[in-house]
C-alpha cells in the first residue's frame, strides 16, 4: 500500500472532528472542568471526602440497581455527572457526610423507582437536592458561593458550556431559560421596586451555571419536542418568578421554596411536563392510524 493510500485510508478514521464526540462525553468534560476550576481556584468542594461520598454513592447505586432490576451492567457516565453535581451543589452543616451519601443514593435510585412508561421523571441531581432541601433545611443548604471575580474563570465556563450545550443540541433550552429569566427579572424589578441588577444577579453565579448546563437541559428528563423543551424552560422560569415574588412579599409558609428557587421550580415543573409528554406520546402511538 502506498503512503498516499495509507493516508487516504487512515484519514477518515484518525482525523479528529469534535462533532464525532458523544455529547455526553462533552458534558462530562464540562462538569469536570467546572469541578477542577472551582476546586483549584476557589476550593468549592469543601473537602474531598464529599466528592468521594457522592461519586461513590451514585456509582455504587447505579451499578447495583442496574444489575438488580435490569440485569445488565450500567453505564456510569450519568452517575458520574450526578455525583459531581451533588458534590458541588450540596453545602450542608460542617462535618456532615450523610447528605452526600443519601443524596447520591436518592438521585440514582429515583431513576429506577419513580418511573412512568419506562422513563424517569426527575433529573437525578434535581430530585436529590429538592428532597434534601425540603426535608432537611435545618442542616442542608445548597451552593451559594460565587466564582470570585475573575472574568477568565467565568468566561471559560460560559464559553465551554455554551459550546457543549450547542453540541448536545440543548442550547435552545439554555437560551430559552436565560431569555425568560432576564425578561422576568425586569418584571420582578418593576413589581417590587428592587434594583434590576439585584434580580439579574443570581444568574451570574456558579449555581445557575450548573443549573442551566446540567439540570434543565438533561436530555433524559426533557420533553420530546424542541418547542416543548423551550416551553418547559420558560415555565420553569415562570414558576421560579412566582417563588421569587412570594419571597419578596415575605409569604412565610412558602419559605422552604426560597432557599433555591430555580432548582425547586424545576423540581415541580420538570416531572409534570415529562409525565404529560409521555402520556401524550403514548396516546398518540395508541391511536389508530
Amino acid at each position: 500500500m502506498s503512503q498516499a493510500a495509507v493516508a487516504e485510508s487512515a484519514g477518515p478514521r484518525t482525523r479528529f472532528h469534535w462533532s464525532r464526540i458523544n455529547p455526553k462525553h462533552l458534558i462530562i468534560f464540562l462538569i469536570t472542568l467546572i469541578l477542577v476550576l472551582g476546586e483549584w481556584r476557589y476550593a468549592i468542594l469543601g473537602g474531598y471526602e464529599r466528592l468521594v461520598a457522592t461519586l461513590g454513592s451514585c456509582m455504587l447505586t447505579e451499578a447495583a440497581l442496574s444489575r438488580l432490576l435490569r440485569g445488565r451492567r450500567a453505564s456510569l457516565s450519568s452517575a458520574y455527572i450526578s455525583g459531581i453535581s451533588l458534590a458541588l451543589l450540596l453545602k450542608p452543616q460542617s462535618g456532615l457526610l450523610w447528605p452526600f451519601w443519601l443524596g447520591g443514593f436518592l438521585a440514582i435510585a429515583s431513576k429506577y423507582v419513580i418511573v412512568y412508561r419506562g422513563r424517569h421523571l426527575w433529573n437525578p441531581s434535581n430530585f436529590a437536592i429538592g428532597v434534601l432541601v425540603l426535608l432537611a433545611p435545618g442542616t442542608v443548604a445548597i451552593l451559594s458561593h460565587q466564582w470570585g471575580n475573575e472574568i477568565a474563570t467565568n468566561a471559560v465556563i460560559w464559553g465551554v458550556g455554551l459550546v457543549v450545550a450547542g453540541r448536545a443540541r440543548v442550547l435552545h433550552v439554555t437560551l430559552a431559560y436565560l431569555a425568560a429569566f432576564v425578561v422576568l427579572s425586569a418584571l420582578r424589578s418593576a413589581i417590587t421596586g428592587a434594583p434590576l441588577m439585584a434580580e439579574i444577579a443570581p444568574v451570574t453565579g456558579p449555581m445557575y451555571q450548573l443549573f442551566i448546563f446540567f439540570m434543565i437541559t438533561d436530555p433524559r428528563t426533557t420533553v420530546s419536542t424542541r418547542r416543548g423543551r423551550m416551553l418547559v424552560a420558560v415555565l420553569v422560569a415562570l414558576v421560579e418568578t412566582a417563588i421569587r415574588l412570594a419571597g419578596d412579599a415575605g409569604i412565610a409558609w412558602l419559605t422552604p421554596l426560597y432557599y433555591s428557587p430555580p432548582i425547586l421550580a424545576l423540581f415541580f415543573v420538570g416531572p409534570v411536563a415529562m409525565w404529560w409528554d409521555l402520556r401524550r406520546r403514548a396516546r398518540r402511538e395508541a391511536a389508530p392510524a
Partner: protein
C-alpha cells in the same frame, strides 16, 4: 420482589433524610444540674448603657441596617487601679456617649465616662466608636485606652486614674480608618506595646459622605478590597510608627477580629485574623520584625465569614486552640463556626473539630472561652443575631439574590435589594456551650434567654469572688451583665501578671497551670473576640482538684518563671522577675 425491596429502601432513605436533618438543638440539661446560674443584673448594679447604631450616607439607605450592624463593644479594664474590674462600652451614633462604669467594689457601678473624658467621642467630622482595647502603653502603671472605629482612631492616655488625655495626634495614630478591630501586642518583644488595627471598609471611604456606593465587598468568599490593616510600632517616646509594609501584615481582607499569641511555640507572638467574606489568616512572626502569612495550615481554602477569634485550651493540652464564629442560617447557608485545634507543633496545621451545636450557632458574633462553672474546662459563650427588626419579614431571601452573584454586582451597594424593616437572622439567643465531655448548649438552663443582637462579649470577675461573670454588648440595645452564681465544689486560681519595663500589662505573657492530669494554657490578651476585651487577669477553674502542681509563666521578654504549688482559691499577683532571677 426486587423492585419492592428497592422501593422500601428508597422510602427508608426519605425517612433517614428527615431524621438526620433535624437541626442540633439545646441539651436537656436541667438548671439544677449545671452547678451555676447566670442572673442578668445590669440595671440593678448601675450599668445603664445602650448602644446606638451609626447613621450613614443616605445613599446607603437600602442596606443601612446591614452596614450599620456593628459597633456594640465591651472592654474590661481597671482604669483606676483599685483592683476592681471596670467596664467600657462604645456607642456608634453621632452625639451618643460611650460608657465607662466604675466598679465601686460593693457590687454596684457608677457611670464616670463624662467625668474622665471618655464619653463624647462620637462626633461628626471625627467619627464613631466601634470598640476599644486597653493597656498601659506608656508604662506608668495606668491603663490607657485605644478607641477604634470609623473615622479617626484615637488613643487616650490615662493621666492619673481620673482623667484621660487624647494623645492620638501626638502619638501618631490619629489616622482615618473604618476599623472594627484592634489589639495591643508586643510583636518585636522590645518591652513596648504595639498596636494592630484592622480595616474593614476602605480607608478612603467616608461613611457619611460617599463619593460612590461601590464600597462593599467584591466577593462573599474571597474579598480583598477591604481597608488595609495597620501595625503601629511603639517607640520609646510614647509615639507610634506605622511599620505595616515592613512587617508584611497589611491584609486588605475585611478583618473583623484579631487575636495574638505564640501559636507555633517559637517564642514570638503571631497574629490570627478572622476575616469577613474571606478565609482566616495566620501571620507567623519570624522574629525579625516581619511576619509570614502561613499558607499551608489549612486556612486558605476554608473561606467563610469570620466574625470573632477567641483562644482557649479546649482539651487542657497546654495549647491555644482557636474558635472563629461564622454564619449559619436554616436552608440558606451553613458556613459553620470553626473550632480549630492547634497542632502546629506536630503537623504544621489546625484541625477543625466544630460539629453540631458548636458549628451552628446562628449568625454568630463575639465569643469567649472561660471556665464558667470552675470545673477545670473552658466553656464557650457565643453571642448571636444580626438584625432584629420586623419578625414577619426576613431579608435572607433578598440577600441570597446577590450573595451568589458576580462580585462586580454586589460591590455596589446600590444594587442590593432594599432591606426595609426586615430582620436578618434576628432574635437569636446567645449560646453557652458547656464542656460535658462534648460541648452542650445550656444557655437557657443557665439563665441566658435574651434575644438581643449580641456583638461583644467579655468575661470578668466583677466582685473578686473567683468566678467569671459575663458582660454582653448588644447592637442598638442595652448592655447586659450576667452575674455568675457558681455552686460549691469547683476550685480556682487567678493570676494577675505585671510585666517589667513598659509592657507592665504583661500582654502576650502565657501561663500554663498544671493540676491533676490537666495542663491549661492561657494568654494575657490585648483584645480578643469580636469588639471585646476580657479582664486582664487569668482565671483557671480547677474542678475537684485541691492543689495546683505548678504554674509556668513565659513572659513576653522570654523570661520563664515557675511557681510550685501555689495556693488555690485565691488571686496571685505576680511581678515579672528580673532576667537573671531564677
Amino acid at each position: 420482589m426486587r423492585r419492592i425491596a428497592v422501593g422500601v429502601l428508597f422510602a427508608a432513605a426519605f425517612a433517614a433524610v428527615a431524621f438526620l436533618g433535624r437541626p442540633a438543638g439545646s441539651s436537656e440539661v436541667e438548671a439544677a444540674d449545671l452547678g451555676f446560674h447566670l442572673d442578668e443584673v445590669a440595671a440593678r448594679r448601675g450599668v445603664d448603657f445602650r448602644h446606638h447604631k451609626t447613621t450613614l450616607d443616605p445613599r446607603l439607605e437600602n442596606v443601612a441596617p446591614h452596614v450599620a450592624g456593628v459597633g456594640a463593644s465591651v472592654a474590661v479594664t481597671d482604669f483606676d487601679g483599685d483592683g476592681w474590674n471596670d467596664l467600657y462600652f462604645t456607642s456608634s451614633r453621632f452625639g451618643t456617649p460611650n460608657g465607662l462604669f466604675h466598679n465601686r467594689g460593693d457590687g454596684r457601678f457608677e457611670s464616670v465616662a463624662a467625668d474622665v473624658g471618655l464619653a463624647d467621642l462620637n462626633r461628626e467630622g471625627i467619627g464613631v466608636s466601634m470598640g476599644s482595647v486597653w493597656a498601659d502603653y506608656d508604662g506608668d502603671g495606668r491603663e490607657d485606652a485605644f478607641v477604634y472605629g470609623w473615622g479617626f482612631q484615637r488613643l487616650f492616655r490615662n493621666v492619673d486614674g481620673t482623667a484621660f488625655e487624647d494623645v492620638s495626634e501626638r502619638a501618631g495614630v490619629r489616622v482615618w480608618m473604618n476599623s472594627n478591630a484592634a489589639i495591643w501586642l508586643d510583636y518585636d518583644r522590645d518591652g513596648r506595646l504595639d498596636l494592630y488595627v484592622a480595616g474593614y471598609f476602605r480607608d478612603d471611604v467616608d461613611m457619611w459622605h460617599l463619593e460612590s456606593t461601590r464600597i462593599m465587598q467584591n466577593s462573599f468568599e474571597f474579598a480583598t478590597n477591604g481597608g488595609a490593616n495597620r501595625l503601629f510600632h511603639g517607640l520609646p517616646d510614647g509615639t507610634f510608627e506605622d511599620v505595616t509594609g515592613r512587617a508584611g501584615v497589611g491584609s486588605t481582607r475585611w478583618t473583623l477580629a484579631v487575636a495574638s499569641a505564640d501559636f507555633d511555640g517559637d517564642g514570638w507572638p503571631d497574629l490570627y485574623l478572622a476575616n469577613d467574606y474571606g478565609p482566616e489568616e495566620l501571620y507567623l512572626n519570624r522574629g525579625d520584625g516581619t511576619f509570614e502569612l502561613a499558607g499551608d495550615v489549612g486556612l486558605a481554602d476554608d473561606s467563610k465569614s469570620g466574625m470573632s477569634v477567641s483562644l482557649g485550651d479546649v482539651h487542657n493540652r497546654g495549647r491555644l486552640d482557636v474558635f472563629v464564629t461564622n454564619i449559619s442560617e436554616r436552608g440558606y447557608l451553613f458556613q459553620g463556626n470553626n473550632l480549630r485545634l492547634n497542632f502546629l507543633a506536630e503537623s504544621d496545621g489546625f484541625q477543625n473539630v466544630a460539629r453540631g451545636i458548636v458549628a451552628d450557632a446562628g449568625w454568630a458574633w463575639g465569643a469567649q472561652f472561660g471556665d464558667l462553672d470552675n470545673d477545670g474546662f473552658q466553656d464557650l459563650f457565643v453571642t448571636n443575631g444580626f438584625i432584629s427588626a420586623d419578625r414577619q419579614r426576613d431579608y435572607w431571601y433578598g440577600m441570597s439574590k446577590v450573595a451568589g452573584a458576580h462580585g462586580a454586582i454586589f460591590e455596589d451597594a446600590g444594587n442590593w435589594p432594599p432591606i426595609g424593616e426586615a430582620s436578618l437572622s434576628g432574635f437569636e439567643r446567645s449560646r453557652l456551650l458547656l464542656r460535658r465531655g462534648e460541648f452542650v448548649d445550656v444557655a437557657q438552663a443557665a439563665g441566658v434567654e435574651d434575644e438581643l443582637d449580641g456583638r461583644g462579649v467579655a468575661f470578668a470577675d466583677l466582685e473578686n469572688r473567683g468566678v467569671l461573670d459575663v458582660i454582653v454588648a448588644n447592637q442598638d440595645g442595652p448592655a447586659l451583665v450576667y452575674r455568675n452564681e457558681v455552686g460549691s465544689g469547683g476550685h480556682w486560681i487567678q493570676l494577675a501578671l505585671e510585666g517589667r519595663a513598659a509592657n507592665r500589662s504583661a500582654i502576650g505573657a502565657e501561663a500554663v497551670v498544671e493540676f491533676g492530669e490537666a495542663r491549661q494554657r492561657q494568654v494575657v490578651s490585648g483584645g480578643m473576640g469580636f469588639a471585646s476585651q476580657s479582664q486582664r487577669r487569668l482565671h483557671f477553674g480547677l474542678g475537684a482538684a485541691t492543689r495546683v502542681d505548678r504554674v509556668t509563666i513565659r513572659w513576653p521578654s522570654g523570661t520563664e518563671q515557675v511557681i510550685e504549688s501555689p495556693a488555690i482559691d485565691r488571686l496571685h499577683r505576680v511581678v515579672e522577675p528580673a532576667a537573671d532571677t531564677p
